[in-house]
């Protein structure tokens, strides 16, 4: 398939990057072939943390299986839960209360912000600047505290259940989120000053890891990775769920398709998420936070699919039900897996230092890839 560039010759160096390597952001194993410092081929090897989550879900009830998905893309656990809850609700044809919808969107966007903040710090760390990582964590901590107060967890939230959300918001929620908005508005400008404007950083990112619009589509890339190549794929815009169709926000796209474009898309998405949170925080409707559902859920016989936009791209949940209390078959479509498949295409011909930068802009979360 890739004969011309991918062929190895004698004298080429084969290096194992990972499964324990600081830049693979988890247990990812890449076998790379180098000629000098130039990458000839990258082969991702998966399977080090495979937990067969989809198989596990088949023995769990429709209320239980959502918890497992928090452990997949642990930086977008709210959004993963959201996708599963949506799919079950679709099967049961439940209409959830307005308040729950707004809370869900608020939580989703806060999660996206926290995820992008972590990514931003890790991205800078990948190209050798350690300091931004700590600065990003300082702001992320405020979101984590909000989450901890409302959901009782900081990372694997399990807050969304079929029919709405599990508990009502904490009384401090609105005040804390407003404080966060004021804080983060100044900090995101600081982010730009510290990293985006840096000459070394721009030189490391521009014209590196290019992927064209056609290739991005054919590799199945989604999320900021595809949007940086001018693919319009924001599920929140294309197939709006909850209250996204009533909100005023933009789908961020870029045309360059290189690492810097992917970087800029994510940074601008942070501003968009912040604006969504700002729009919703004052208009959380009163009412129930959960629709009335039965204690044991039974989906009618059939196939159901729902999708949401996580911080990394499209997350799809596909349930085949035989009418019982547990799903007959579940398949998750996780964004990281398809994005990772384009890594080899992006990295060929670049230097080994660029591989790290490209992996950084793909925003890999390994349990999301290796379910």
């Amino acid at each position: 398939m890739f004969e011309e560039v991918g062929t190895t010759t004698e004298g080429d160096l084969m290096i194992n990057v990972g499964p324990q390597h600081p830049s693979t952001h988890g247990v990812l194993h890449l076998v790379i072939t180098l000629r000098g410092e130039t990458i000839i081929k990258v082969e991702p090897h998966l399977g080090y943390i495979h937990r067969s989550i989809e198989k596990m879900c088949e023995s769990l009830s429709y209320r239980q299986f959502i918890y497992v998905t928090s452990r997949m893309d642990y930086l977008s656990s709210h959004i993963n839960n959201h996708g599963c809850a949506l799919c079950v609700e679709k099967g049961l044809q439940i209409e959830i209360p307005e308040r729950a919808k707004v809370i869900r969107v608020l939580m989703d966007e806060l999660t996206r912000l926290a995820s992008h903040q972590l990514w931003w710090g890790a991205m800078a760390m990948d190209v050798g600047a350690l300091t931004p990582f700590f600065h990003a964590f300082r702001e992320r901590e405020t979101i984590n505290e909000i989450m901890e107060e409302t959901c009782g967890a900081r990372l694997t939230m399990n807050y969304m259940v079929p029919g709405g959300v599990m508990y009502d918001l904490h009384p401090n929620f609105q005040k804390r989120v407003k404080d966060f908005i004021t804080l983060f508005k100044s900090k995101i400008d600081e982010y730009d000053e510290m990293v985006t404007g840096n000459v070394i950083f721009q030189n490391r990112m521009k014209d590196v890891g290019f992927i064209s619009k056609e290739d991005a589509i054919s590799y199945g890339c989604t999320g900021p990775t595809a949007r940086a190549s001018d693919v319009s794929c924001d599920i929140r815009k294309l197939f709006p769920y909850e209250v996204y169709d009533k909100l005023d926000f933009h789908e961020i796209t870029a045309t360059d398709g290189d690492c810097f474009a992917r970087y800029m898309v994510r940074v601008q998405e942070m501003r968009q998420s912040l604006s969504i949170v700002e729009q919703l925080i004052d208009i959380i409707p009163e009412g129930d936070f959960q629709a009335k559902t039965k204690a044991v859920l039974k989906l009618p016989k059939g196939e159901f699919y729902s999708r949401v936009e996580t911080a990394r791209g499209e997350f799809g949940v596909y349930i085949i039900s035989e009418g019982g209390t547990t799903p007959y078959r579940i398949k998750f479509r996780s964004p990281g897996f398809s994005n990772l498949s384009a890594l080899d295409h992006m990295a060929r011909g670049h230097k080994i230092g660029d591989l790290v930068a490209i992996m950084g802009t793909l925003d890999l979360v390994i349990p999301d890839i290796d379910r």
Partner: protein
């Protein structure tokens, strides 16, 4: 002006009066040797601690604050930890070269300490080609690094060593040219004379434009030569995990680590000597009163203040900048720094000949 010269002189006289000249010389060698090793250890402790505090300050963290007052004994604890760790030699490594490499790097760092004047008249060896000696000896350390990387039997180490070779050899050119530009101004290679020539003002002020250009080039080049960020490609932890010293543990690693910090101290001292007057107090032309007041501050304080200021600048780089890529690094040197420093050397020569400096 208070100086340490009297101490060194009295020791020298006492030794010569008590023993025959050969024995006195041997005793002096021993004293100097012990002092250098002590200085090596003390500098390592101080600089590692300083690095942590500076990085903590930049990264809104606290830094070490438990062991001793404000964590000041932290590096001692680290040393203890490194000392009791097992020094592994990987299977399949070239054992002799693998074990030799850290010593080569360390001995080179110790050798360059020789011509550095720590205070007025407090210098191990005032050789008449001091600057040349420093540039010549400092380039030997790359052999140690290449040795370490090649002998480790590890591909990451090999890549790191190759990068380091390309990097150090290239950046030595710019560093050398900017050193020569000051030699052109002074007209001497002897470090004591270079310091003495700055009695009525430091070269960075007296040599104005070309001196500032060479100072900037010098700082960039020596940052690269000491493998410090943003030029830390030899160890590049996000790409090569640790580069040339991946396989080193315990004291063998500590020797590389110590040598790196002492090298920073050395290059910053050279920078301070050439551009900021070494131990020379801040003197301004013919302002007798002002110059006299400045003389009250001991020369060693001047020297260490300047050196540690430059060290702080280099640490500041490390905790702010992302890392360059290897081709960008070489481009910067060969396409920008080297041509600029060559032109700058011509400019400097012109200024020296025409006497356009202060």
């Amino acid at each position: 002006m208070f100086s340490l010269e009297s101490i060194t002189n009295s020791i020298h006289t006492w030794l010569n009066n008590t023993f025959n000249p050969t024995l006195a010389l041997i005793f002096e060698f021993v004293i100097v040797g012990i002092s250098v090793i002590t200085l090596f250890a003390v500098l390592g402790l101080i600089l590692v601690f300083m690095e942590r505090k500076v990085s903590a300050y930049m990264q809104i963290r606290l830094g070490p604050n438990r062991v001793g007052f404000k964590g000041i004994l932290q590096t001692l604890a680290d040393t203890l930890k490194l000392a009791v760790k097992e020094g592994l030699t990987p299977d399949g490594a070239d054992k002799f070269l693998f074990n030799l490499a850290p010593f080569v790097v360390m001995i080179v760092a110790m050798l360059i300490l020789a011509p550095i004047p720590f205070a007025k008249g407090f210098q191990i060896w005032d050789i008449n080609i001091g600057v040349l000696y420093v540039s010549a000896v400092s380039s030997v350390s790359v052999i140690g690094i290449l040795m370490a990387g090649w002998a480790s039997n590890n591909k990451y180490s090999l890549l790191g060593a190759m990068r380091s070779g390309a990097q150090i050899v290239s950046y030595e050119l710019s560093a050398g040219l900017s050193i020569i530009s000051i030699v052109v101004l002074t007209g001497s290679l002897q470090i004591s004379q270079i310091v003495a020539s700055q009695e009525n003002g430091w070269w960075i002020f007296k040599g104005h434009i070309p001196a500032i250009i060479s100072f900037v080039i010098f700082i960039i080049a020596v940052t690269a030569e000491t493998n410090r960020a943003p030029f830390d490609l030899a160890e590049a932890e996000s790409e090569l995990t640790a580069g040339f010293h991946t396989e080193y543990s315990g004291m063998k690693f500590a020797l590389f680590f110590l040598a790196e910090y002492v090298n920073i101290f050395i290059v910053c001292s050279i920078g301070a000597i050439l551009f900021l007057g070494g131990w020379m107090p801040l003197h301004i032309g013919s302002w007798q009163g002002f110059n006299h007041v400045m003389d009250y501050i001991p020369s060693s304080v001047w020297f260490f203040a300047k050196v540690f200021f430059l060290i702080f600048v280099i640490m500041w780089f490390r905790w702010t900048f992302p890392r360059l890529r290897i081709d960008q690094l070489l481009n910067l040197e060969w396409k920008y720094l080297l041509p600029i420093s060559m032109v700058n050397l011509l400019l400097m020569t012109l200024i020296a000949i025409m006497g356009w400096h202060f």
